[in-house]
């Protein structure tokens, strides 16, 4: 990044930066103009998916560990927030009803780190039994983990022990409050009305930016290199003194943390969650964002997340009118079109552009088969 920046004309780059910031700040207004409040919600969720995709990228992209059950961490974070900032626990457990008669409404800035921590713990729990597994088997067990979490969320809603309220989900979850100000309320600045969707946009944008910075720093760090070494050749990595076991656990738990935070934000934003949102399809959606965007390449993953989230939404608004106009009725439901296109893009990308839409750029020089020269021996640099 520094090298890239150094090459730029300082005036140009500051100008470019200002434009970017202005564009990002104005985005929700633009979205509202073009598509109404619905579209502001869509870009809000797209930002959450950017976080999710970047989190999964640590596991799949950096470390080469195929995780098909990433949604489990999303679920853990979401349910943690749901339980700790709604009345569900008080409604269902005498202990809580006694101590928290109005329901638990623990502030978000306490819950989110807790949710992140719990997700990280879940990451370690998932990682530990599968440390020796490779490739397909690893993928299958992670899939199983995701399914088990979903089954648990679905089944722990019995009358005798209602932790998750089962398929009915948990509602009336508190919104995010920043310094006592609830983001569900509309903020009026002068003549500008900032509704809930706008406020959450800026919050999620901030979180996404923090995520990007953290991921970028991790990538360029000693740990990031160790992860990539693991991905490329785990035996050579070990031979270079890397404790592969530990960095695998780190990958799972750090990746999980982002999922957990995103999950918590999702719960607060939507005010309601249910096991339906945490299915295998979701895990694959997030995986597709990473793989199709450009595995291991942060800008590519961001692009993948944005495209794969907004495109189906976009389809929803074009496919149905299109079918109505051309065919006179809805022949194919949008959900089916979405799933079909998701499956098709996965197949096509692997066949024709396996590195993703925007992979890590390699220096353009061809294989240096011709030039086999070696520099004259330099002086002794031995420490």
């Amino acid at each position: 990044m520094n090298k890239y920046l150094k090459q730029l004309n300082p005036k140009q780059s500051i100008f470019g930066l200002v434009i970017c910031i202005a564009l990002l700040a104005a985005m929700p207004f633009i979205a509202k103009e073009l598509g109404g409040t619905t579209w502001v919600r869509i870009i809000d969720m797209a930002l959450l998916y950017v976080m999710l995709a970047l989190g999964l990228n640590i596991v799949v992209g950096f470390s080469g560990l195929l995780d098909l059950g990433y949604v489990a961490f999303y679920a853990v974070g979401a349910y943690m927030v749901a339980l700790l900032s709604s009345s569900h626990l008080s409604d269902n457990f005498a202990f809580f009803a006694q101590h928290f008669p109005n329901g638990l409404h623990i502030p978000l800035w306490v819950i989110v780190p807790l949710g992140a921590g719990l997700a990280a713990l879940a990451g370690i729990m998932l990682g530990t039994p599968i440390l020796k597994l490779r490739g397909d088997y690893l993928a299958l067990v992670t899939l199983g983990f995701g399914e088990i979490i979903r089954i648990l969320m679905n089944n722990l809603g019995k009358d005798t022990f209602n932790l998750t309220n089962g398929p009915r989900g948990i509602n009336r979850i508190d919104p995010v409050t920043v310094f006592g100000y609830s983001l569900d309320n509309t903020l009026t600045i002068g003549s500008v009305q900032l509704t809930k969707e706008f406020l959450y946009y800026y919050l999620f944008l901030a979180l996404a930016i923090v995520t990007i910075i953290v991921c970028y720093r991790l990538q360029k760090s000693r740990l990031g290199r160790a992860w990539m070494a693991l991905r490329e050749d785990d035996i050579a990595a070990k031979a270079m003194g890397i404790n592969v076991r530990n960095i695998k656990l780190l990958a799972f738990s750090l990746g999980a943390t982002f999922g957990g935070v995103a999950g918590g934000m999702f719960a607060a934003f939507q005010g309601f969650i249910s096991p339906e949102s945490f299915s295998f399809l979701e895990s694959i959606n997030i995986l597709a964002m990473v793989v199709l965007g450009g595995m291991g390449h942060i800008p590519g993953v961001i692009l993948g997340a944005i495209i794969l989230y907004t495109l189906p939404e976009f389809l929803r608004f074009t496919v149905e009118p299109f079918q109505r106009n051309v065919l006179g009725k809805i022949w194919v439901d949008t959900a089916i079109v979405r799933q079909f296109i998701l499956g098709l893009s996965m197949v096509l990308i692997m066949l024709y552009r396996p590195k993703g839409l925007w992979p890590t750029p390699e220096r353009e020089d061809k294989k240096d088969i011709v030039d086999v020269s070696v520099d004259k021996p330099a002086s002794n640099p031995a420490a």
Binding site: G135, G144, E147, I151, N155, V332, G343, M346, M350
Partner: protein, 304 residues
């Protein structure tokens, strides 16, 4: 139900279900043995078999054909459709990636499975269907409160017969020899004049035929829940069964299927029916930790 009765009843339930898992598992294990990939879309082939058979048999029954005939024609139709589907999947999604890193075919496999589900959703919609009553469902009481339905007996017998047919094919025919050779060493097999592409295609189609029959039998017996997503969980469990028995090992798929069926039945009977699906994953983790080569697989030395 007395403890002994419960045990025997679950034993029966487990073996019946297990025989179905085994039939599906064979498809996974054969493909993994030759190509080294998990054919993620195999569960959807199972689903398509059930769906096609359901539609065809409903149609034929409505036309007045005798039940047996309707069932046989429906089964044949399902097998053909499944074989064609599986063949196409291999040609389109796996063959071009035969030399790519293993992640690529896994992704295309998942993609294919999504495509098939979408197609099924479009053709049949989202509703859950009941498979027409084509198999006799009288319950035969064995002793105490233990019983078995005619249907379950038929399922078990058909499964065993079909798997027996497969074993005969693999061990006593030219094609079977070619399959075994190719799964040992593709290059050497081709040097011996075996066309690996033909063998691979045949393998996919045979697995598909078995999955189609398994789908039909499954649909007739288990609550008649026929819908576009019915292949996902049984597919996963069948793969786990294949791993349990020793991936790539054909008798292993049979053993793994039966054992998994039993574990599930016992778990459902004694621990909790609700968490039935979880037992399979517990089995998977245990196998991968304690005996990764599976029950019948070779001991894999911990090589560099």
């Amino acid at each position: 139900m007395s403890a002994f009765d419960l045990f025997i009843q679950q034993l029966i339930n487990g073996l019946v279900k297990g025989s179905l898992y085994a039939m599906i598992a064979l498809g996974y294990t054969m493909v993994y043995g030759i190509l080294g990939i998990i054919n993620f879309a195999h569960g959807e082939v199972f689903m398509i078999g059930a769906m096609v058979a359901m539609t065809v048999s409903t149609l034929l029954l409505a036309m007045g054909l005798p039940t047996i005939l309707a069932l046989l024609i429906a089964t044949l139709a399902a097998m053909l459709v499944c074989m064609f589907t599986s063949y196409s999947i291999e040609r389109l999604a796996y063959r071009p990636l035969r030399h790519a890193p293993k992640l690529a075919p896994l992704i295309t496999a998942i993609g294919m499975s999504f495509i098939l589900q979408a197609v099924a959703m479009q053709i049949w919609g989202l509703e859950h269907f009941r498979f027409p009553d084509v198999l006799p469902s009288q319950r035969i009481q064995l002793f105490g409160s233990v019983g078995i339905t005619m249907r379950e007996i038929i399922i078990f017998i058909v499964s065993i017969v079909m798997m027996g047919g497969l074993f005969w094919l693999v061990n006593h025919t030219k094609l079977g020899r070619a399959m075994r050779a190719t799964s040992e060493n593709v290059n050497v097999a081709s040097l011996m004049g075996i066309n690996p592409n033909r063998v691979i295609s045949a393998t996919f189609m045979i697995g598909a035929a078995l999955a189609a029959v398994a789908g039909i039998l499954f649909a007739t017996n288990y609550g008649g829940k026929v819908h576009f997503f019915m292949g996902f969980i049984p597919g996963m469990k069948a793969f786990i069964a294949a791993v349990l028995g020793g991936i790539g090992n054909i008798p292993g798929a049979l053993v793994g299927g039966l054992v998994l069926g039993l574990v599930e039945a016992m778990g459902a009977g004694y621990i909790s029916a609700e968490y039935e699906d979880v037992f399979a994953f517990v089995v998977l983790v245990c196998v991968l930790i304690f005996r990764p080569s599976g029950l019948l697989g070779q001991r894999v030395a911990d090589r560099a």
